[in-house]
């Protein structure tokens, strides 16, 4: 439960940050004729909603203690790995990229390397057969 509070606070802070960003960026959007609010109106309302809700949530949980439970490094590594996907796709093609991610995912999750390799191979085969040969997806 205490770890959930950390993530809850992180999400609340994110909501405040994104809400503020929406409020600031909305100021540069054009107005309608006659001075009526145009495309800026809805994002501004949403920005205010996110800022107030985020601050409210932070206020509600201000006294609760929280700490991380470990394992966040693996999550960060996976997200950084996902950001490499467009480059890997251009180098290795779709099936091998999918297989590599399945292998890496299974291995990071604690599966033995041999089983992870088998998982990656099965996924690569499935992607090649279904997506590339049957559906004609390029890559």
């Amino acid at each position: 439960m205490s770890a959930q509070r950390i993530w809850e606070r992180a999400a609340a802070l994110l909501a405040v940050a994104l809400g503020t960003l929406a409020l600031v960026l909305s100021r540069n959007l054009p107005q309608m004729e006659g001075g009526y609010p145009g495309p800026a109106l809805f994002p501004s309302i949403l920005g205010a909603l996110l800022v107030f809700s985020g601050l409210g949530l932070l206020w509600q949980g201000r006294r609760e203690k929280a700490r991380l439970e470990g394992g966040e490094g693996r999550v960060l590594l996976s997200l950084l790995g996902l950001a490499l996907a467009p480059w890997l796709l251009s180098q290795m093609g779709l099936a091998f990229t999918a297989g590599l991610y399945a292998l890496a995912g299974a291995w990071l999750l604690g599966v033995r390397f041999g089983t992870a390799l088998l998982t990656g191979g099965m996924v690569a085969l499935l992607v090649y057969t279904v997506f590339q040969r049957f559906l004609g997806v390029q890559g």
Partner: protein
């Protein structure tokens, strides 16, 4: 007219089996099943894709019970409401009987829900022809408010909806066509692709969740379906029991359809309310399981009523389905009934076939498959899911930059999920946000920003009052009775 071609029938069968397998395995949810299937279905045409989607959604909710029976772990949040009772029945009588009192009530609940779907959607379409942007605005707002108020902590619901709606503001605005928040990126002019977001929120965040909790994901040890006369227990004994409980079955199916119809509610809420009502009346485990399983499947059809007739999703699954409709070039609402009447009939017929054939027969077949698949560790399945997420996100538009979006939205989904925020509401926000803005702006532009115009038409006024009554009513309800219903706070997230 060819309502169900061989291809569509095959899609219905394979979709049902696929949904049943995903729904049955703990950790693989109905939303994840659809998110991974959509990139494939987009290539197959509307008739085949919709048949498969109906098969997946209808059976995945029922199949959550298979995990409850075999390993005492609900496959979906909708089954969590009565897992203990269903597993106890499996242990005390037999797994085949327990599966029977889940599958047959699910089929009956689904059939009753279908009856209301046909009558309700046609009735609502007739009513919707009187609607203008004012009425639609109030209806969409009703969906948003009821979604927010259905969450145990309202602020979390507001943040989830707000983030979803904010994500949907990226790209051209729906009323005037001005680009917003694109940061000069041409790829963002069309907005964030709904399907990529779906894969990120339900696929990537699920894998990241398992990565964080690492070794806790041990593979369960399923018990078999039992020995001896399995079919007679599954159909015969369970059928006789359902007949004895026919009154209760009808009541819980009606309740499930109604809860499913409400915007923002869904199968899991229907199952919790129905099974808790039975517990409060000191019902036996068989009765609690029967009420819960009929209600959650009836809710699936109930949620389709506003989705088909008004283009308003009742829950996450129908929000995804509406996204799929739009991706296939079909606009739900009265236009669907005017221009694609044959497709509407096909949807009804597909629901009927799933209810009568796939749930009772396919349920048994999928349980046989699933008891073997459950031996595969969840960690291996999650590795495969990560690989398929990458392919799915790329295949939607053949655009490598969608993969950056996948990583960013996956991280957002993970943080929200870890914090106990309902991810389904983010998706609902992405669908309802643009509708709310469009109907508001159109109303304002045509009345030169006269806010009173929202209360001038009788139907609009009625819907405005309904919004206020719903907020007051739900807040009052939450203060008292709500807490007594053992609310599944974390499951809904």
């Amino acid at each position: 007219m060819n309502f169900l071609s061989p291809e569509a029938l095959l899609a219905l069968l394979l979709g049902s089996l696929y949904g049943a397998i995903f729904g049955a395995i703990p950790g693989l949810t109905a939303t994840l099943a659809i998110s991974l299937a959509i990139p494939v279905l987009l290539f197959l045409g509307p008739e085949v894709a919709l048949a498969a989607l109906i098969g997946i959604t209808a059976t995945a909710i029922f199949a959550g019970d298979i995990g409850s029976v075999l390993v005492r772990m609900p496959g979906t949040p909708a089954s969590a409401a009565y897992t203990e009772e269903l597993h106890e029945v499996a242990r005390r009588r037999s797994p085949a009987f327990a599966l029977g009192i889940s599958a047959l009530p699910s089929a009956i609940g689904s059939l009753i829900g279908l009856g209301f779907l046909v009558v309700g959607s046609l009735g609502l379409v007739a009513l919707a022809r009187q609607f203008s942007s004012f009425e639609y605005f109030w209806l969409v707002l009703l969906g948003i408010l009821s979604g927010i108020l259905a969450v145990p902590r309202v602020l979390k619901g507001a943040i989830a909806f707000g983030l979803g709606m904010l994500l949907a503001t990226i790209g051209y605005d729906p009323a005037l066509g001005n680009p917003r928040f694109t940061f000069g990126q041409r790829d963002l002019l069309g907005g964030i692709d709904f399907i990529v977001a779906l894969i990120a929120f339900f696929g990537v965040s699920e894998v990241l969740y398992h990565l964080l909790h690492g070794s806790r994901g041990q593979s369960p040890h399923p018990q078999g379906l039992g020995r001896g006369s399995i079919l007679s227990q599954y159909f015969g004994e369970a059928g006789r029991y359902c007949w004895q409980e026919r009154g209760s079955l009808a009541r819980s199916s009606l309740l499930g359809t109604f809860v499913g119809f409400l915007p923002g509610a869904g199968s899991d809420i229907a199952a919790w309310i129905s099974s808790n009502l039975r517990r409060m009346r000191k019902g036996r485990p068989e009765q609690v399981a029967l009420d819960g399983s009929s209600a959650n499947n009836a809710a699936v059809a109930g949620a389709w009523i506003p989705a088909m007739a008004l283009g308003l999703p009742g829950d996450t699954l129908t929000a995804i389905l509406l996204g799929m409709f739009l991706a296939l070039g079909i606009t739900p609402g009265p236009e669907l009934f005017n221009k694609h009447g044959a497709l509407v009939l096909q949807i009804y017929l597909a629901f009927f076939l799933v209810s009568v054939v796939m749930l009772p027969l396919g349920g048994y077949l999928s349980a046989l498959i699933v008891q073997n698949l459950l031996k595969i560790p969840t960690r291996v399945l999650m590795g495969a899911v990560l690989g398929l997420c990458v392919v799915g996100a790329y295949a939607v538009n053949n655009n490598p930059s969608d993969l950056y979006l996948l990583a960013v939205l996956g991280a957002l989904g993970f943080v929200l999920r870890q914090g106990g925020f309902p991810l389904g509401l983010v998706v609902l926000g992405m669908v309802l946000g643009p509708l709310l803005e469009q109907h508001f702006m159109v109303s304002m532009i045509k009345t030169h920003w006269n806010l009173l115009s929202f209360f001038e038409r009788p139907l609009a006024l009625l819907l405005a009052i309904l919004n206020v009554a719903m907020v007051v009513g739900v807040l009052g309800f939450r203060r008292g009775w709500w807490a007594a219903l053992r609310w599944p706070a974390e499951e809904r997230a």
